[in-house]
Symmetry: C2
Subunit: 329 residues, 2 copies
């Protein structure tokens, strides 16, 4: 079975919620979990729970990467941080995946310099499954490359195509380019050039997808640079939260509405579940020579658990090997 | 009173809905409306309605700009199109504003080449008021400049600041830069440079605003390039529509839920009104030597009406003069 390393010191709710998430995950997977971080803290936290102790290991790391650390300096300056130790574990093939909720920039830089890119890959990209009317679309890049070249975008599409085909069993995934209009000549310089590259590729490229159509599930794979992808992802989250806030305000305005609200509560719950990001786990950083998975900085135990379970699945499915095999073709 | 010219031939629902919108607007404003387009069609359509005939004029234009027309060629090749005739009317000061639902690219190119930029303005920008938890934020640019330089962004902020200060009466408008993180060093090359320019300005710059916080109304003025702005605007629209679709599906799933839905209908209506784009009119193209207002390509009569009323107000408030006075300071 696969071995999943977890950075228990990274993220807004580390280490308590991360360790709790590990414990919860350990009950639902046969994978071995390697908790990387301050040994004393981990031992103390683990004492709170019962768990299959043969499947939870501890690897001590004395330092912690903070949000203030410069991404490019982390590798040099914090060699004994939970993040760097975890990435080295992955590089040395002592773990099959590494999960972190910590500093995204540092994880990207560390992933690229320690785990290294797969041969032929220009830039790794964060890939997130986002909920749509048809199920899910894979949005990439979600934040790894704020300045992208057209050739990067074309490669993101190829990695996304492989992901949806090999790991999600979608036959001929449709690939769309996020743009400000459907016409070929729309967009900025990079996007226009990427359009041509995608059109000339053998992928099932369906053209530009306007932001208005993202939620309808227009394409299985949605391509954009990391700046735009991050905006799309976070706006969805923020706008969704706001709508629920407004709905709550409207529904509690008077006693009659409160009665109606009580009746339709299951409907609202159904709707909310659709947008529950904590069940969607994290975003793998595709294109590296090892499986690095970023989860939300504010992730709590539930999301950590789902990210670990998802990472174990991706490791078992050999996502890295599948991309390696197909990217150079 | 002001004179508002309207391109009745532009947009998905032209000319029927545009003309209907003009008639509806004529009953709510003292401005004179100049309907620019095919005379015969306009006369035929106007016969359907009663309206204050002294306030609706017709200006014949024999050609129509289509979505397929190349923006840069419209001025040369379609000199007698409703769009070019309307823009010339504005240039010659025979109209105080020009409203169009037509080809955005052509309107931008035509606005820049015919109406011209105000002295000192590098690029005009589309400014949209978007609904937020605190009321409205001005989002700009919403699609005029897909490739922007940092200095453009700084100028968009200055125009937005003037708009909110002078026309919306907000004392010291907060200005935020849309970015993928709140930290100063976040973002792409252009955004990082713009951050420094904004920080050095005298504006009330509050720093980066993450997409997740847009809907909470973090800043009065939200700055981004036209690619990102268009994505933000359209995703909001599409995601909102999807949520209402899901809500409807959930609420009609069984008879009990239908009863609950009937009780809370006023609450849902209240929520929907908050996102009703048709009441928000259009987006002025700020930075030109005349007031050009773009409304939604799919605008129907109601939105056309609101855009005309909003344009009349902006013309009366002399938005162009206010920007002219303040931009060079």
């Amino acid at each position: 079975m696969s071995k999943i390393a977890i950075d228990v010191m990274g993220g807004d709710n580390a280490p308590v919620e991360i360790i709790k998430g590990c414990v919860e995950a350990s009950k639902e997977t046969d994978s071995t979990l390697i908790l990387v971080g301050d040994k004393d803290i981990i031992i103390k936290e683990l004492k709170k729970y019962t768990y299959p102790s043969n499947r939870i290991k501890i690897l001590h790391a004395s330092e912690v990467v903070t949000m203030e650390d410069s991404p490019t300096e982390v590798i040099r300056r914090k060699k004994d941080s939970s993040m760097v130790v975890g990435l080295n574990l992955l590089k040395d093939k002592k773990a099959d995946a590494f999960v972190s909720a910590g500093n995204t920039g540092a994880l990207l830089a560390g992933g690229t310099f320690i785990v290294r890119r797969l041969e032929g890959v220009q830039r790794p990209a964060l890939a997130s499954l986002i909920p749509t009317d048809k199920g899910y679309s894979l949005l990439m890049d979600c934040g790894a490359n704020t300045d992208a070249k057209a050739t990067y975008l074309e490669q993101f599409a190829r990695m996304g195509d492989i992901y949806m085909r090999e790991l999600k069993g979608i036959d001929n995934p449709s690939v769309g380019l996020i743009n400000i209009g459907v016409e070929e000549e729309k967009g900025n310089t990079v996007v226009k050039e990427a359009y041509k590259l995608l059109q000339d590729s053998s992928m099932n490229f369906i053209g530009n997808v306007e932001a208005r159509d993202i939620s309808m599930g227009e394409a299985d794979v949605l391509i954009c640079d990391g700046f735009v992808g991050n905006i799309v992802l976070k706006q969805m989250e923020g706008f969704g939260l706001w709508i629920f806030k407004l709905l709550k305000e409207e529904l509690t305005q008077n006693p009659i509405r409160k009665i109606g609200a009580a009746i339709i509560m299951p409907a609202l719950k159904g709707l909310k579940d659709k947008f529950d990001y904590s069940e969607q786990g994290g975003a793998p950083l595709l294109g590296l020579n090892g499986l690095v998975v970023k989860t939300h900085g504010s992730a709590k135990a539930k999301q950590v658990k789902h990210t670990i379970l998802q990472s174990a699945k991706l490791a078992d499915q050999d996502v890295v090997g599948k991309i390696k095999q197909n990217i150079s073709i």
